[in-house]
């Protein structure tokens, strides 16, 4: 058994190059769009809802269209890589753009007045004020975006190279190297696969501590305002307490003009801009579907499918969607059972927090899909596709709950944590009355993000049949929307694919609007700690 160091290194380097390109693109995009939205009311009215739509939909479901569209137009190495980079870009740019927007919005009026008085040009303002003022937020959001991006990188590499389905011939798109490619092509039990996982862990650690952390520390000097409490300075707490109100879609705040006061003036404009944003999105999606179908040879265009055929397909899609819905929720339940107590317990103990949180940060950055072949190898569990899918989804989303809960508890005032001991309240009562309610806002935010992540993770977790394992399907659940999407993608069955993606999006968005928004509103009203 010889180890192929060269190949593994090439995999990691290729993926990192894609990530860095996507990250650079995201930062440039975020600065442009974020500054524009913050400084122009008209731009703000369209940009915010548009970013919000991208944040609320299961992006990975749209990826088959992106790859078919881009690869169809540029059918070579460049096109395939471009599709992957576009997906990573989509997964991380909105988050950084929101950060830039908020940072520029938060610049004190005095500074703006100063620049007006000294008659600076627009470009001078951007260079001397807006960009430096955004730097710290860009740096911190980049740390989290990197982990999210890695997940999408691996997922998109896996989807790009294609999977074998009964009707397809494992037609591969030329992405020869990448960590997702490696995980697919190396046999699961091989030493090369183990080496790849080890290499990714090392790369994640080096990258996080040598580059991202250094960038964050460097950006500190651009901070405009003092931050009061020292314990807010660690990145997890800082990031998630920034995000607490914002990561949750602004759709949530729409019906109630309460929540974050800073946004209330924006909300009416947001509401006005939303319909245009939806329209822009639909046009965009239509073009994507059209270009996918036309590039696939337009086979289905000549003979339009009958209505009853569409209805029959949609029936199958809805059934799969129902199964996945149940799957998402029971897996979420497991994540809550693990993440909520763990998050609270860790943040209550300072020593534990300092030791454990960097470890959790690293583990959470390892993209879950890459571990799928290893999970399949676990005795008993590996043979149960349902369990495999559940574990992959848990590894992808449990962090959102842990980190948001940790940030929630850590941002509770220090004297709130003294309260139970001052009144000699028992541990059980302290958890029930102080810590659990105190963590609730963070928990709900984390839950919304986690459920969103679970829908994305399904697409990898439910069906995995890489070309590297000719022995047959590695794992597949009985039914599920992720499985439907993957099989439709590989069969170039754009009708089913469109039905599946649209149905899933409609379900997620309406669930957010009807259920989560109410919960979020109640919780932020009653369970947020304001002095």
């Amino acid at each position: 058994m010889s180890l192929d160091f060269g190949l593994v290194a090439l995999d990691i380097v290729s993926s990192w190059v894609r990530m860095v390109l996507a990250m650079g693109l995201s930062v440039v995009f975020a600065l442009a769009v974020g500054i524009w939205a913050a400084r122009s009311r008209r731009a703000e009215a369209i940009i915010l809802p548009l970013l919000d739509i991208f944040q609320s939909i299961p992006i990975l479901g749209f990826f088959p269209f992106v790859i078919a569209g881009i690869y169809g137009a540029i059918p070579n190495f460049v096109g395939a890589n471009l599709a992957v980079i576009v997906l990573i870009f989509t997964s991380m740019s909105w988050n950084i753009a929101f950060g830039v927007y908020e940072a520029v919005k938060a610049i004190p009026q005095d500074y703006l007045d100063l620049l007006s008085v000294s008659r600076t040009t627009a470009w001078q303002r951007i260079r001397s004020l807006y960009i430096p003022a955004s730097m710290s937020r860009v740096a911190y959001n980049t740390q989290i975006s990197w982990a999210v991006g890695l997940f999408f990188l691996v997922a998109s590499e896996i989807i790009s190279i294609g999977q074998c389905t009964p009707a397809s011939n494992c037609t591969n798109i030329p992405i020869p190297y990448g960590i997702g490619v490696g995980a697919t092509n190396f046999p699961p039990a091989s030493a090369d696969y183990a080496l790849l996982i080890g290499g990714i862990v090392v790369a994640v650690i080096i990258w996080r501590y040598l580059f991202l952390r250094a960038f964050a520390l460097w950006s500190e000097k651009f901070k405009m305002m003092e931050e009061p409490r020292e314990h807010h300075r660690d990145p997890i707490t800082r990031f998630y307490s920034y995000v607490n109100h914002r990561a949750v879609s602004k759709l949530f705040l729409m019906a109630h003009d309460v929540g974050v006061s800073r946004f209330t003036s924006t909300i009416s404009r947001f509401r006005k801009g939303l319909k245009y944003a939806v329209l822009i999105f639909l046009v965009f999606f239509g073009l994507l579907v059209f270009s996918s179908v036309s590039h696939s040879g337009g086979v289905n265009l000549g003979s339009a499918p009958s209505l009853s055929f569409i209805a029959q397909q949609e029936g199958g899609v809805l059934y799969a969607l129902g199964v996945s819905f149940v799957r998402v929720w029971y897996v979420y339940g497991i994540c809550v059972a693990i993440g909520l107590p763990m998050g609270i317990a860790i943040s209550l103990n300072f020593k534990l927090y300092d030791t454990v949180s960097p470890i959790l940060e690293v583990i959470s950055s390892i993209p879950a899909p890459i571990l799928l072949p290893a999970i399949v190898l676990i005795p008993v569990v590996g043979g149960m596709p349902e369990a495999v899918a559940a574990i992959v989804i848990i590894l992808a989303i449990v962090w959102y709950i842990i980190f948001n809960v940790m940030a929630g508890v850590r941002t509770l005032p220090a004297d709130m944590k003294e309260l139970p001991s001052v009144y000699q309240v028992g541990r059980l009562s302290a958890w029930r009355n102080v810590y659990l309610p105190g963590a609730l806002t963070g928990f709900v935010t984390g839950s919304i993000t986690a459920i969103g992540g679970a829908w994305n993770a399904l697409i990898i977790a439910e069906y995995f049949n890489p070309s590297g394992t000719p022995a047959g399907v590695l794992t597949q659940v009985g039914s599920g929307i992720g499985k439907t999407i993957v099989i439709a993608t590989n069969n170039a069955d754009y009708l089913t694919l469109t039905l599946a993606v649209v149905s899933m999006t409609v379900l997620i968005v309406s669930f957010n609007l009807l259920v989560w928004r109410r919960i979020y509103h109640h919780v932020t009203k009653r369970y947020t700690y304001n002095r």
């Binding site: 005032p413 004297d415 709130m416 003294e418 309260l419 001991s421 001052v422 009144y423 000699q424 309240v425 028992g426 009562s429 009355n433 102080v434 309610p437 609730l440 009203k525 009653r526 369970y527 947020t528 700690y529 304001n530 002095r531």
Partner: protein, 261 residues
């Protein structure tokens, strides 16, 4: 309020802080915070602790409360050593520290939740009485978010009173309030706390506001900057009610300021 209240003669010592020192350990290098601090708080008196900001006043209060263990020295309340937070010592916090998800009454009840000797009705009764003494009758079912700063702090006071403490610790209780509200609550402090209706025997107040201290305190302990040690322990013998515009009042304020600088 308390039936088994310990009978102690006025003027006798309730709280003794006996040569307390505290070091923080930063990278194994001990960093002294408090050096050899001693003080006594007598029955029916309000003792104020003051000092430059960040000197460790609140830390000293937390040592008296049993929340922080001193590196050396001991604290006694009514002749028994303080080793952990105890039922006969209550605390009012600078930032109120009310649970936003519980009503005013439920917040006061939370302070009583460890009292297994009381029935639910007795707890309810105690909590209502405490809210009444603190001037909040009629606000039982209001959530903290709907209360003004001054009323929030009254809930904090009621929660501390409800447990029938012998010792009441006040940690900058007025400094999160606006001037007018603070003024009003300050005026009532003495009558709310040192009052035969309550069990409180002595009050220890931490504050950086010198006028506030001269207005309220019977005794002032002045700490120096880091590491903190006692640079003055004075009996304020001004008659009550104190006239904040009188010359004597200003002389006292000056006296404390000169110790602080």
């Amino acid at each position: 309020m308390s039936e088994e209240q310990v009978q102690v003669a006025s003027g006798s010592t309730i709280v003794t802080v006996d040569h307390v020192s505290l070091d923080y350990h930063k990278e194994k290098e001990p960093l002294p915070v408090l050096v050899d601090v001693s003080l006594k708080a007598a029955k029916d008196e309000l003792v104020a602790i003051t000092g430059p900001s960040g000197c460790g006043k609140s830390t000293l209060l937390r040592i008296i409360a049993g929340l922080i263990k001193p590196t050396s020295g001991r604290v006694f309340v009514l002749d028994s050593e303080v080793k952990e937070p105890r039922a006969d010592v209550s605390m009012v916090f600078q930032n109120f520290v009310l649970l936003p998800w519980r009503t005013a009454l439920e917040n006061v009840l939370f302070g009583l939740s460890s009292r297994n000797d009381l029935s639910e009705e007795q707890k309810q009764q105690k909590a209502e009485t405490a809210l009444e003494i603190a001037g909040l009758a009629g606000f039982e079912s209001v959530y903290p978010g709907e209360l003004s700063g001054g009323m929030k702090q009254r809930v904090g006071v009621a929660r501390a009173l409800a447990t029938d403490p012998q010792v009441m610790l006040l940690d900058e209780p007025f400094s999160s309030l606006d001037d007018l509200t603070a003024e009003r609550l300050r005026k009532e402090t003495h009558s709310i706390l040192i009052n035969p209706q309550t069990s409180v025997q002595t009050v220890i107040l931490v504050s950086h506001n010198v006028e506030e201290i001269i207005e309220l305190a019977d005794q002032v302990v002045v700490l120096s900057g880091r590491p903190a040690h006692v640079v003055g322990d004075l009996k304020v013998d001004l008659p009550r009610p104190r006239n904040k515009k009188s010359d004597e009042f200003f002389q006292w304020v000056d006296k404390v300021y000169s110790l602080l600088s």
